[in-house]
Point group: C2
Chain length 100, copies 2
């Protein structure tokens, strides 16, 4: 019933949730969606990559460098586990973390 600390930190939870909702997301999109600084996103993305949860892809749009993030299979699975564990912790109260 452990809450994976890599995912639980609020900023990373939000990053992972954004990525879980899409196949891939741009650096700037994630940063602006969450309203965080470049450095914070860069550091959390690296932490998630180190954990094996996020893939960081670098490429170009025209001549400008761009970075995209996506969840790895391991990341998706860890996120699903995380949500399940949250549910276990919270559910005795009768509340749910799930939509609907």
């Amino acid at each position: 019933m452990e809450l994976d600390p890599v995912i639980h930190a609020p900023t990373r939870l939000q990053i992972v949730s954004v990525l879980a909702a899409a196949e891939e997301a741009e650096f700037g999109f994630v940063r602006d969606t969450l309203g965080i600084s470049d450095s914070v996103l860069s550091k959390h993305a690296s932490a998630l990559e180190t954990a094996g949860y996020v893939r960081i892809r670098k490429g170009y749009v025209g001549k400008r460098p761009k970075t995209w993030f996506s969840l790895t299979e391991q990341g998706r699975s860890a996120f699903a586990d995380y949500v399940r564990n949250l549910q276990k912790i919270v559910s005795p109260s009768g509340l749910t973390v799930l939509p609907g």
Copy 2:
């Protein structure tokens, strides 16, 4: 879409979840259920009391002092908000993990 940091800390989330499932819970029960030390529970309970989320009741069982915790109305409401916010963050992923 803020996750109340008083509740989000894993240990306090578990404490609050336990309390949300009951009217009142004993110090020893909560400590043993979560597997934490006396000092940690004592400190987190104080923090939750300071936030207005938990009521700490002291009394006796026979001649031995005992402490009980319960959520205040404010605490229940903050917890419900917390879970709602969690839902908002997580739900775009479309996870279909079922409660229970």
